[in-house]
């Protein structure tokens, strides 16, 4: 054990660390070398820039929504405009930010390295998926610039097919294309994880980040085609009136919702699972302890992915689905909540007997644990049949969804970005400023969305441009919180940009983490590893790391 305690002391001083001469960022120069790259790390950076761009577009719409809701009267913009705001906010945030957020950036960057591979299985398909993302993104932007779309992100028929004059088909085409980008990413991950693990990297030696991305990939590959088909049907219904969803032609408008939620419920697990992977890595690293119950955490990801496909109708409890199918879907919803609870407790117990430090990624991860617990528990409110009747379609849903997606996923994303920033760029972010950002985000988030739970129980419907005056106080609180939250999200953009040039040199392994990605230089070489590593230890084996480090120091000294 003395070896473990002395390793930290024996570390090469970070101040003397230098950027490696050759790495993936300077390996080739020029814009074209980026646009035609097959390097998963460069594609990850391209994705990171792209999703950040769309995040701030979506965020701007969120800001406008909250600004309008400061007053009960519809006074800032016209109702049509307001409807376009929340539609654009939803479409951009979900399809262009949340779905690709962790998998396409951190997943792309890290999964091959964590597995000990030189790249993903299909580098060109990986690049294609980024181009598809942008084609879809441009369609979405075109819908916005041409005058917007006001279907909401759910494209509900018959509103979207028969009653709106906005750019529904353009936006749907955008989402359709982005869907393929996500399918390709998922396919790439699945094949890579199956076929390209380094010698000795068995399934149960993989970091949990790989497990959770694997589970999310299965959902992407199996779920997204259903969304694509549904959107094609919406477009056909709108353009030529095929009548699949039109009751006057013998179609069923509820069928649309079944199909849509068959994708869109698993989609929330596509969004959250990779984030859970990040949390496993971060909590383990900063408590210097293996993740408690590795197999339970790994299998709970898979369980969430499997159950996730069979709960879609819980979005439709008040739609007149049969009582018995409502019962089944409610029961399955309760079951899918259990693996999430298991994960929370496993993460909490990872801290036990650890040696905990509180760097920024850890603060974000703690934020995730708290907010995701609330988000998950309020999901149980909504899964309970009778409670759902009162809560659905109100601000309670809005708050629940944002607790899971923003409080959960975005916290996890920021935890991951800070955690792997030294690896991706070779430089450290400023620690105290980033801690301030983490705390600001947490406070701002709670101030924004806790009042919305109360609003929801009071009955304020979502997507309302105007509301009864008695709801104003809570809305003002929420808007105030959104302002704080906005500051919390602007800060990382600024200081991370700053750190690219002025940040301290990180060195290979600033956190003393165990993953394979931390055993190579930062930023990594284009080919990741000089020679393919042979894995002879489990993930999160801090004793292995201690021996390795001790050995290195002796060799050098």
């Amino acid at each position: 054990m003395s070896a473990t305690s002395s390793t930290i002391v024996n570390l090469p001083d970070q101040r003397t660390a230098a950027l490696p001469k050759r790495h993936y960022l300077n390996n080739e120069d020029g814009l074209l070398s980026w646009l035609f790259t097959g390097d998963h790390k460069r594609i990850a950076i391209l994705y990171l820039i792209s999703i950040t761009f769309f995040f701030f577009i979506g965020g701007a719409f969120a800001g406008l929504i909250r600004l309008e809701l400061l007053t009960p009267q519809p006074d800032l913009v016209a109702s049509d405009t307001y409807n376009k705001f929340f539609s654009m906010h939803g479409i951009v945030m979900i399809f262009l930010f949340l779905v690709p957020s962790v998998p396409a950036t951190l997943g792309n960057f890290l999964i091959p390295i964590m597995l000990g591979a030189k790249d993903l299985a299909f580098p060109k398909i990986n690049l294609l998926s980024w181009y598809l993302y942008w084609v879809g993104g441009l369609f979405t932007l075109a819908a916005l610039v041409l005058g917007g779309v006001d279907t909401g992100w759910t494209f509900t028929t018959p509103l979207s097919t028969h009653y709106l004059n906005t750019h529904v088909v353009t936006a749907a085409t955008g989402v359709f294309i982005i869907g393929f980008s996500s399918i390709f990413t998922g396919l790439n991950f699945i094949v890579t994880i199956h076929r390209m693990r380094a010698p000795g990297m068995t399934w149960f030696r993989m970091p949990l980040f790989c497990w959770s991305n694997y589970a999310a990939s299965i959902l992407m590959v199996l779920g997204t085609p259903v969304l694509a088909i549904t959107l094609v049907l919406v477009a056909l219904e709108r353009l030529v009136g095929i009548g699949v969803f039109d009751p006057t032609k013998g179609g069923d408008p509820l069928l649309f919702q079944h199909l849509f939620w068959f994708y869109s419920h698993p989609a929330v697990y596509i969004m959250i699972l990779p984030g859970m992977g990040v949390i496993s890595e971060v909590i383990s690293t900063f408590s210097r302890k293996r993740v408690f119950g590795y197999t339970a955490v790994a299998f709970s990801s898979v369980a969430i992915a499997l159950f996730g496909f069979f709960v879609w109708a819980h979005h439709m409890f008040i739609m007149g689905v049969s009582n018995y199918s409502a019962l089944v879907f409610s029961l399955l919803t309760m079951l899918v909540a259990v693996p999430s609870a298991i994960k929370i407790f496993n993460w909490a117990f990872t801290l036990q007997k650890g040696s905990i430090t509180f760097e920024t990624p850890m603060l974000y991860a703690f934020g995730f644990l708290g907010l995701f617990t609330i988000g998950g528990m309020t999901g149980v409110f909504l899964g309970a049949l009778g409670m759902d009747i009162h809560l659905t379609e109100t601000y309670f849903i809005v708050a629940h969804f944002h607790f899971v997606m923003v409080g959960g996923m975005l916290m996890a994303f920021l935890a991951g970005i800070h955690f792997w920033w030294p690896k991706m760029t070779g430089r450290m972010y400023p620690e105290s400023l980033s801690k301030l950002a983490a705390v600001t985000t947490f406070i701002g988030f709670n101030l924004t969305f806790l009042p919305q739970f109360i609003l929801g129980y009071l009955g304020m419907p979502r997507r309302y441009h105007a509301y009864p005056p008695e709801f104003q106080v809570l809305n003002v609180l929420s808007t105030a919180g959104a302002t704080v939250l906005g500051v919390g999200y602007m800060l990382p953009l600024l200081y991370l940009g700053w750190s690219l040039k002025y940040g301290a040199i990180a060195g290979n392994n600033p956190w003393q983490a165990t993953g394979l990605e931390w055993q190579i230089q930062s930023p990594p070489l284009t080919e990741n590893f000089i020679e393919i590593p042979i894995v002879d230890h489990e993930a999160y084996d801090y004793e292995w790391l201690a021996h390795k480090t001790a050995h290195e120091v002796t060799t050098v000294g």
Binding site: R290, F381, I389, E393, Y457, P461, Y542
Partner: protein, 347 residues
């Protein structure tokens, strides 16, 4: 300490109006709130537990106090604990929620029925006695009320938060919800399903009256014609009575007393005749041929508004014998000028 007067006004208004919980104004509300408080309780307990674990471990095992981590694999016992306890709690919630769901969605048999038609962007309520209301609904307290609802265009959703009831209003399909209001007063009606530009204007007020006031209101605001009477005029004017005359040689089935009965269809299936069946059979007759009859009825899709369909359904529901059908038949044959479709709306 100075509080801005604007802020102060907000707070006072908020505390006076509704504070943290909506009013409990129906018999269902206390049941819904009970489950809500239970759920809040387990959320708070769960959150506190997670908080204690995180903060407790963070303080106890922070690096300054605990420089060397002790590696632990896991514990099957603990895993089982935090699998089984949440599962048990969630199953309790499931059963409780299911019971509440059935309570909210299974109307008592003695409920009085009111029709609601949703359209962009208004709620139209039609009382059997012929009272029409827009964005308003008058109901008596202490008496179960069932709403039979349908949308004329897109999905809407009828929600009365203070009653804790809500139901999707679907195009082309009747959906129902019921409640028994307890306290006279006015309460919000919201459309909670996004339905286009003026979604947030699709609001109204439900006025709960004491039974006496309600009777007074019914008498004062009747349009003079009940829904069934409107339906009867339509039945004659659309020529329904030509085939559905009830005579033995008629080309269409006898409709008197058909409501609530079990019907043998030409395709071999059996159906119970309810509102939804009647509506579908008018709009889409070829799918609903009564055994023994030829599929000769034309579709009325697009020819009758949802209001008109409600009138017809009400009429057929109330039809006990064919005396008046045959009488109108003779009248309409002798006099081709049939009355026009009534669409009177009391503003």
């Amino acid at each position: 300490m100075h509080i801005s007067p604007v802020l102060w006004q907000f707070l006072v208004k908020w505390l006076n109006a509704s504070a943290l919980f909506p009013r409990e104004a129906s018999t269902i509300a206390p049941y819904a709130d009970a489950l809500y408080f239970f759920l809040l309780l387990i959320t708070v307990v769960g959150l506190t537990l997670v908080g204690i674990l995180i903060f407790g471990f963070s303080i106890r095992y922070r690096k300054e106090k605990h420089p060397v981590a002790i590696q632990v694999e896991g514990s099957t016992l603990l895993e089982a604990t935090w699998t089984i306890i949440p599962l048990a709690l969630f199953l309790i919630v499931f059963v409780w929620g299911a019971l509440l769901y059935f309570r909210i969605y299974n109307p008592p048999t003695n409920a009085m029925n009111i029709y609601v038609v949703g359209k962009q962007w208004m709620w139209k309520a039609e009382h059997p006695g012929g009272q029409h209301e827009i964005n308003a609904l008058h109901v008596p307290s202490g008496r179960p009320v069932q709403l039979t609802m349908i949308s004329q265009d897109v999905f809407h959703s009828f929600s009365i938060p203070d009653f804790r009831v809500k139901r999707e209003v679907i195009p082309g399909r009747y959906s129902t919800v019921w409640f028994e209001a307890t306290i006279p007063g006015t309460y919000h009606i919201f459309c909670t399903q996004y339905c286009g530009t003026n979604h947030s204007q699709m609001i109204g007020e439900v006025t709960v009256l004491s039974p006496d006031d309600y009777d007074k209101w019914t008498q004062e605001s009747t349009s003079g014609m009940s829904l069934a009477q409107n339906g009867e005029r339509m039945f004659a004017s659309m020529g329904c009575n030509a085939c559905h005359s009830g005579s033995a040689a008629a080309r269409g089935p006898n409709l008197a007393g058909v409501y609530g009965s079990k019907l043998q269809l030409a395709n071999g299936s059996q159906v119970v005749v309810n509102d939804a069946y009647l509506r579908d059979a008018i709009l889409n007759p070829s799918q609903h041929i009564t055994a023994g009859y030829a599929p000769i009825m034309p579709t009325y899709q697009g020819q009758i508004s949802e209001d008109g369909l409600i009138d017809l359904v009400e009429y057929i529901k109330a039809m006990q014998n064919n005396y008046r059908v045959q009488q109108t038949l003779t009248t309409s044959q002798s006099n081709q000028a049939a009355p026009t479709t009534p669409g009177m709306v009391k503003p």
